[in-house]
């Protein structure tokens, strides 16, 4: 594939065929409580796709179903145009040509680094095997480590070996299960960049599972947000953050407050001012407006009613918790140097580029809105 890097990443893969397709896939550990329900998505060649969700949402089950380690109860999984999983038939994992990196890497402790990497290359002649392993060692920056045992490597190096072992067999699709969760934060962010660069260079179609939205934003071309086994939204990282499809997504991918409002004369009226009616709600409907901390700006004003109740210093920013007269809580992110005392009266300026509205059944009580 010759991806045009000048195009925005949302459109990069628009023309290429899909390598992996899930059609209404359901998996269940016990029949009454499906782990994954009616999931459909597809990944195009070279795309990095991220399954994001809280623990227990079924994201790892989806990954294992793609690998063929978990049978599907309904639906189909198609890999390179071939149906590999259906309720009737499951192509065994070893015949799928998928590469997988497990959360704890699962490096064979009894094999040296080179033998670990060569494990999936048995069908090749020895010289070819060696040269492929050497190529992979070079690509992952592991030259000189080929005779080490896994326990003689650091966490980051272990991960590189696991990645090399999966990539060396040129898999149709690479599956990463929470690959950075066993690394300390500094190492994790370095590895994210390295892995991202490597996957781009090798143009490997990748499905990655994570519960960390920052990781998903940093790595993914597209993100699929899962909640309780259901696909809530699938979009580019920017869309997921700015235009979340559901309240769950809005809440999960970053700090968000939900301000209650009502539609009157085609305009949403809230305590923070007026917003356009972007969901075609009818007159009199109760709605909630999603506000992100970076959309709210504070101006100290002695005569204003809202008050600062807490400040959290985060290094690059200050996160303020502000209480409105109704008791509603709003968060605001200010620059690192703007320090106001708790109890300061402030005026709020809301400057959202996108207005995100959610229908609510009843007028929201201030107590069950927002998240601290």
């Amino acid at each position: 594939m010759d991806a045009d890097h000048s195009q925005s990443r949302t459109h990069r893969f628009a023309q290429t065929a899909s390598i992996l397709e899930l059609r209404s896939v359901s998996c269940a550990y016990d029949a009454n409580r499906p782990a994954v329900c009616d999931i459909s998505f597809s990944a195009r060649e070279g795309e990095i796709l991220c399954l994001l969700g809280p623990s227990g949402c079924g994201k790892t089950t989806v990954l294992r179903a793609i690998a063929g380690l978990e049978p599907v109860q309904a639906g189909q999984i198609v890999l390179s145009g071939q149906v590999v999983s259906s309720p009737l038939e499951t192509l065994p994992t070893e015949a799928r040509r998928v590469g997988m990196v497990f959360q704890e890497y699962a490096l064979f402790p009894h094999l040296r680094v080179a033998d670990n990497i060569a494990f999936g290359l048995r069908h090749l002649p020895k010289t070819e095997r060696t040269s492929r392993v050497q190529d992979m060692l070079r690509l992952t920056g592991l030259e000189g480590f080929d005779h080490r045992y896994p326990h003689e490597l650091s966490g980051g190096q272990q991960q590189r070996v696991a990645l090399a072992r999966a990539l060396v067999q040129s898999p149709v699709v690479l599956l990463l299960d929470e690959p950075f969760s066993n690394l300390d934060p500094d190492m994790a962010s370095r590895m994210r960049q390295e892995v991202h660069a490597l996957l781009r260079q090798m143009n490997t179609t990748t499905i990655m599972v994570t519960h960390d939205h920052d990781e998903a934003f940093a790595m993914a071309d597209r993100i699929a947000v899962l909640n309780q086994g259901v696909l809530e939204q699938m979009d580019s990282p920017e869309m997921i953050y700015h235009l979340p499809a559901t309240r769950f997504v809005a809440d999960f991918v970053g700090q968000a407050d939900f301000i209650p409002g009502q539609i009157q004369r085609g305009i949403v009226h809230t305590e923070l001012g007026e917003f356009p009616n972007t969901i075609n709600g009818s007159e009199g409907d109760h709605v909630a407006v999603m506000i992100r901390p970076d959309d709210v700006h504070l101006l100290p004003n002695k005569s204003a009613a809202p008050q600062i109740v807490a400040r959290q210093f985060r290094g690059s920013e200050n996160l303020y918790t502000v209480q409105l007269p109704s008791g509603q809580i709003v968060h605001s992110s200010e620059s690192s140097t703007s320090v106001y005392q708790e109890g300061t009266s402030v005026e709020l300026r809301v400057s959202a580029t996108h207005t995100v509205l959610f229908q609510t059944e009843h007028p929201l009580a201030p107590s069950d809105t927002g998240r601290n």
Partner: protein
């Protein structure tokens, strides 16, 4: 480090050193005796008996290890990787053979496989009246008996390892395109190797130090020869020389096992735990698996126990259940109680000091106490006997000497449950007691002892039950006319009075069951 008052410490220290000396001195003395022997004696033994004995012992150990390996690994694989009705039952039943002392199985197989025995009769119906089967009193016979008795060691360790094996290793092998056979041989078995090797080492030590089976089946091994030198030839010096050889042989096996374990120290099989997927069996497979498991457990435990029960209720056997029989029971229980109490008292200071004050002296004392691990029963008896004859001859023929031999022999087994129970308590608990104003003595009484109580009880019960069935040391050192259950079984079985031996043997097997429950509950994990 807990600041124990120096007087308390020194008395503990004294107790620990005394316990270590108690186990080490007999060993040193027997070595001295062996090496002080004339070179003639060495030469004579070396040219006549040693080559044959060494060969017999190693060949038996090797053959039993191989057979037990096959039985243990395959049964462990079946119960952990297949799902079929009755699986959980078999999971427990496969441990039962450990409750059979080897002299009990040996005497039953002597009958079963013996000349004109039931197996031969059955075989003659199939293969004609002239057909013969192998004699139980042969290499093959001893191998089968010992393998059936010892394979559960390998089964237990392999089963545990299979259950704890991180399935990700096998899954990642699948994503690398490895077939089922390649996964088994390139991934699973290598990962199980440390556990399998540990199990094989246990089996080999068991075989090398066994006296019951080889004496009843008349198979010459080093251990049996030591016994014969002491009783038949009354030659303690020759017995010491053979003992030293035996200890060296056992040490060799132990060191090999340690080396293997050291090599695979880093086999990190932990990780996210996910139960392995068991293969569901259809009825055909179920019948096959059940039949093979039933054959193994039946031969090793089921048939012997049924026979014992039948014999116990024969008129001849019932006639022996008189006051004398209850004397044997009482003698066994008395010896076992004394031995268990003495061993726990000797073991506690050792384990405590080695864990809390790991100086070279304290860890050295603990290691010395483990020396008994490589001492077969006859050797322990011989060591205590010769030392006693040298230092305090008037104690010879008293229960005291016997208890000493038991402590020497079973202290390692007790330490194996005392040590972890003490290590599990963080010293912080004792330190916080001291900050709350308790003295060292009060801390031990109110904090340490209550916390290690279970470990102490387990150690006591294990030693008690092992002493109940101990044979060779009892045989060699018991006061005149002081018979125990184990002695009765051996004496009657030696004379082939199968029925008369049955009640005592049945009682020993039954008493062994709770010990088994204790042993396996330590590392049993239901999955």
């Amino acid at each position: 480090m807990i600041a124990v008052r120096s007087s308390t410490l020194s008395s503990l220290q004294l107790a620990a050193v005394a316990s270590a000396a108690l186990t080490l001195l007999p060993l040193i003395y027997i070595m001295a005796l062996a090496f002080s022997a004339d070179s003639d004696v060495w030469y004579r033994l070396w040219t006549t008996r040693v080559p044959e004995l060494l060969w017999n012992t190693s060949a038996l150990a090797g053959a039993v290890a191989l057979l037990a390996l096959g039985l243990g690994v395959s049964t462990a694989w079946i119960v952990t990787r297949f799902e079929f009705p009755g699986r959980r039952l078999w999971e427990v039943a496969l441990v039962l053979p450990l409750a059979m002392p080897t002299y009990v199985s040996a005497y039953i197989f002597n009958y079963l496989l013996g000349f004109g025995g039931p197996v031969e009769q059955f075989w003659q119906i199939l293969a004609g009246p002239q057909a013969r089967i192998f004699s139980p009193q042969s290499f093959l016979g001893v191998t089968v008996v010992m393998a059936l008795d010892t394979f559960p060691f390998i089964y237990l360790l392999t089963r545990n390892a299979l259950l704890n094996l991180n399935v990700s290793f096998e899954e990642v092998a699948r994503t690398c395109g490895a077939s089922l056979l390649r996964r088994i041989f390139a991934v699973t078995l290598p990962l199980l190797r440390p556990s399998i090797v540990a199990g094989v080492a246990l089996v080999i030590l068991y075989v090398v130090s066994d006296f019951g089976a080889v004496s009843l089946l008349r198979y010459q091994t080093l251990t049996y020869a030591v016994f014969q030198q002491m009783t038949g030839q009354l030659d303690n010096q020759a017995a010491s020389i053979l003992s030293v050889l035996l200890v060296v042989l056992a040490l060799l096996f132990l060191i090999t096992e340690r080396w293997f374990r050291h090599k695979s120290r880093f086999y990190q099989t932990a990780g996210r735990y996910r139960a392995p997927q068991r293969i569901r069996c259809n009825w055909f497979q179920t019948v096959g698996l059940t039949a093979s498991l039933a054959a193994i457990v039946g031969a090793a435990f089921g048939v012997p126990v049924v026979l014992l029960i039948a014999w116990s209720f024969s008129p001849d056997a019932l006639a022996t259940l008189d006051a004398r029989f209850f004397d044997f029971v009482w003698n066994s229980a008395l010896l076992a109680t004394l031995a268990a109490t003495a061993a726990v008292l000797a073991g506690l200071p050792l384990a405590y000091l080695a864990s809390r004050k790991p100086s070279w002296l304290n860890t050295g004392c603990l290691q010395a106490a483990y020396a008994g691990y490589v001492l077969p029963g006859p050797v322990a008896a011989l060591a205590v006997l010769v030392l006693c004859l040298k230092l305090v001859p008037f104690f010879y023929g008293t229960v005291l000497v016997l208890i000493l031999a038991y402590v020497l022999h079973f202290l390692p087994a007790g330490l194996q449950s005392l040590e972890p129970s003490i290590q599990q308590i963080t010293p912080n608990l004792e330190e916080v007691a001291r900050t709350l104003g308790l003295s060292a003595r009060e801390t031990v009484r109110h904090v340490t002892l209550p916390l290690i109580r279970n470990g102490v009880i387990v150690a006591w019960v294990l030693i008690f039950l092992q002493t109940m069935k101990e044979l060779p040391a009892t045989l060699l050192l018991r006061p005149v006319g002081f018979d125990t259950l184990a002695i009765r079984v051996w004496l009657e079985a030696s004379e082939e009075y199968y029925q008369l031996a049955a009640p005592s043997a049945l009682l020993i097997v039954l008493v062994g069951l709770p010990a088994l429950a204790l042993l396996i509950s330590r590392d049993w994990r239901a999955a």
